[in-house]
Subunit: 107 residues, 2 copies
């Protein structure tokens, strides 16, 4: 399996689908903040992995053990600061969807 794919356990588990449209500019600041978040995420309880791709829009999916783990991440202090910067500077628009993965298969 490709290392760019998240190695998630057997279903059920949770996915947070973050779809975003970036503003122009703020590139260095954005890249720095992204690296900070990846470091923070790795230590987060119940975090299972993430997948990301971007072209006209960005799609980042993080995978989680349960809803409690997602809520803890949502309220993580470093993440709250990043969310604020996201709304103020980085994103023109975004959408967050919290979903329970019921089945999966791969090739």
């Amino acid at each position: 399996m490709n290392k760019l794919f998240a190695e998630t356990p057997d279903a059920p588990y949770y996915a947070v689908i973050f779809t975003s449209k970036r503003t122009e500019g703020h590139t260095d600041e954005y890249d720095e903040e992204t690296q900070k978040m990846i470091t923070l995420l790795a230590d987060q309880k119940g975090f299972l992995g993430f997948e990301t791709a971007s072209k006209e829009i960005g799609i980042t999916i993080s995978y989680w053990k349960d809803i409690a783990a997602i809520m803890a991440w949502r309220n993580n202090l470093g993440h709250l600061a990043a969310q604020k910067k996201g709304k103020e500077s980085f994103y023109e628009a975004f959408k967050v969807r919290i979903a329970k993965v019921e089945r999966d298969y791969s090739f």
Copy 2:
């Protein structure tokens, strides 16, 4: 709201998360097949929209009214032919996750 985002209804609804790693080449054939699938999808009962982005990996999320609609799409004849080409030519690896969107919010 950006038109590149899927305009999904209030939760609950379903997401099919398709994460893929492309093979080299087959570009024209792949683009043609993608356009065919988008046309087919638009007529599919219970289809709510899709979002896509690709860089090192591709992530395409299609949104659906319910599991029955996803199963009908999975067994659509045109889509079955595309799935065959996908495995034979287009993808080195892929993962499909079927998830129930329980809540969402946007900015």
